[in-house]
Symmetry: C2
Subunit: 333 residues, 2 copies
């Protein structure tokens, strides 16, 4: 009862703060504004939020989706690579979950076709949450409040991983960051960004950055080789898209990362090789475009990139239902 009341309240709060606005028209630019998220099924989104923050989806009961895609810090963990079960260090920098719906596929190598497909991965990855789908379901099924929620939303008595990942994906669909200063400019507010920032955007287009970093997410629309015009020597072990396709020509191809909120999500690149956005821009110019930017050009582009920080999702921290005598206990080993 108490729990249902909290839940209803949270749905209400979430609903109010996520209400949609009328569509606006924007400038004809290769970067498109982030639309306001519309929530079709608030109860499903709320369940997805609970699961996103649910440490019992991990073997240890300590790691949740939010551990590595922290919504306090740009939807990423700001670490070179994530810390997984037993303090294992991951092989690649954790991408942000913010605006992830605008990616053509998920993970750096695109091995998950969508958010739902992605959500099941880390739960069962021995280096990450180290659980199994069977165990995760057994835990949820042992908790009456979860059983009731899944029944109410999906009309099922037995929870499966399909509903779990569907709910997580429904929540993640809402994790967009509209209303950045750049988007305000796209919508016609000439004063939303400064002349320096406008000059940075002009350079971003002129130099060719926009060829890959375009669309709503300012990236996420294609796979590109890291090292187009010059071989990248810092990380030659991570093969990227090749791991999925096994095509030789896909070696070192990665999904182009989103640049939305980029100032919040250092370190940069799949190998987290820099925390400095100016250096990141310089590396991209050199390896992808074969250009040397002046310091002034770099600074202007970075000034532009910082206009891409949007309104961060306002999240009411979920209250999770307690385990029961039937709940498999956490295993920290």
């Amino acid at each position: 009862m108490k729990f249902i009341k909290s839940f209803a309240f949270a749905v209400l709060v979430f609903g109010i703060i996520s209400c949609s606005k009328p569509e606006k028209t924007s400038r004809d630019e290769p970067i498109k504004p982030v639309p306001i998220s519309k929530i079709d099924n608030a109860q499903k989104v709320e369940l997805g939020k609970m699961l996103f923050f649910e440490p019992r989806l991990s073997k240890s009961g300590f790691i949740s989706c939010n551990s590595c895609h922290n919504l306090s810090t740009g939807g990423a963990d700001n670490l070179p690579s994530s810390i997984g079960h037993g303090w294992q260090l991951g092989p690649i920098n954790s991408p942000t979950v913010l605006n992830a719906k605008f990616n053509l596929a998920q993970f750096w190598d695109g091995r998950a076709k969508d958010l739902q497909d992605q959500a099941g991965g880390p739960i069962a990855n021995p280096g990450e949450m180290a659980s199994t789908h069977t165990l995760a379901i057994e835990i949820l099924q042992s908790i009456p409040q979860y059983v009731d929620l899944f029944k109410s939303i999906y009309s099922v008595d037995k929870i499966t991983i399909e509903e779990v990942t569907d709910a997580i994906a429904a929540f993640e669909e809402t994790l967009t960051t509209p209303n950045s200063r750049f988007d305000q400019w796209l919508f016609g507010d000439e004063n939303a960004i400064t002349d320096v920032e406008k000059a940075g955007y002009a350079l971003f287009k002129e130099k060719g950055c926009v060829a890959c970093h375009n669309g709503v997410g300012v990236g996420g629309t294609s796979y590109q080789k890291f090292g187009v015009v010059k071989a990248y020597e810092k990380d030659t072990e991570t093969l990227g898209r090749f791991d999925v396709t096994k095509n030789e020509q896909d070696k070192y191809f990665f999904k182009v990362p989103l640049l939305r909120n980029i100032e919040l999500t250092a370190p940069y690149f799949h190998d987290a090789s820099t925390v400095d956005l100016v250096e990141a821009v310089q590396v991209m110019a050199e390896y992808q475009l074969g250009q040397q930017l002046t310091q002034d050009e770099q600074n202007k582009i970075v000034a532009f990139l910082k206009t891409l920080t949007g309104d961060q999702p306002v999240i009411t921290y979920p209250i999770l239902p307690p385990s029961t005598a039937k709940t498999p206990p956490p295993d920290r080993n």
Copy 2:
């Protein structure tokens, strides 16, 4: 600017949902109702919330206060003992932060006199957050938004650990759980709890549980020996209050834990030796009171204990400011 807007909004939301109600009178019972928290300095509380969720207070950049005192799960981590830096397992079950202000002192052994004194401990504990106060301050001082907030709230240019722990404590002071069904009954609503639950409360008093579990927190008002009438044999290594006082007679004395929200904070006891509340009640009766309760008595007492779950704090998840080029990087090793 964006950050300041989010901050102002969060303060507003926090303010609205935490507004106080007029004082009510309650029944004359050894358990007192949890008062509604009054927030004197909303900006300080909001800063404290940011710091409570701030993973950069740990060496790794991965562990925050909330990692082990998770506000989604009753203010505790529901693990036998917490996971610290490098996946070290702690020596004792993590107590809930909810209503912790009602404890006579903090930690199981009372080694911190208050919430502020407590807050500095885990940051610098090599087995927990594994940072140092110097490093934590250096990190905060490198982030302009934090510098501005500390300046605004404390009128300081140089942050010290005093302000950090003061702000965390101010936030923790708000983490109370009023309006439990038991408190509704205390305030005169005869139907707020059932006859079985009332019978459980009567037993709780008759059997003597209330001798230690009393006051607002239903505990936290004294130190007691684990094993008053019968030596406790499961954990003989944790010496409790003795570690602080070095008095032989304080061996195996622990701060009596709060029973507020007890259904949310399994496993139970300092050694987390059971996840079953019925068993916990039986162990207490046997070792502390020298009694064997019938199954019916145990069930009634547990039914009463579950009426102590109050409204969980409604927390708007904080948005943390990004690191800068001057910020010492996280160290996962």
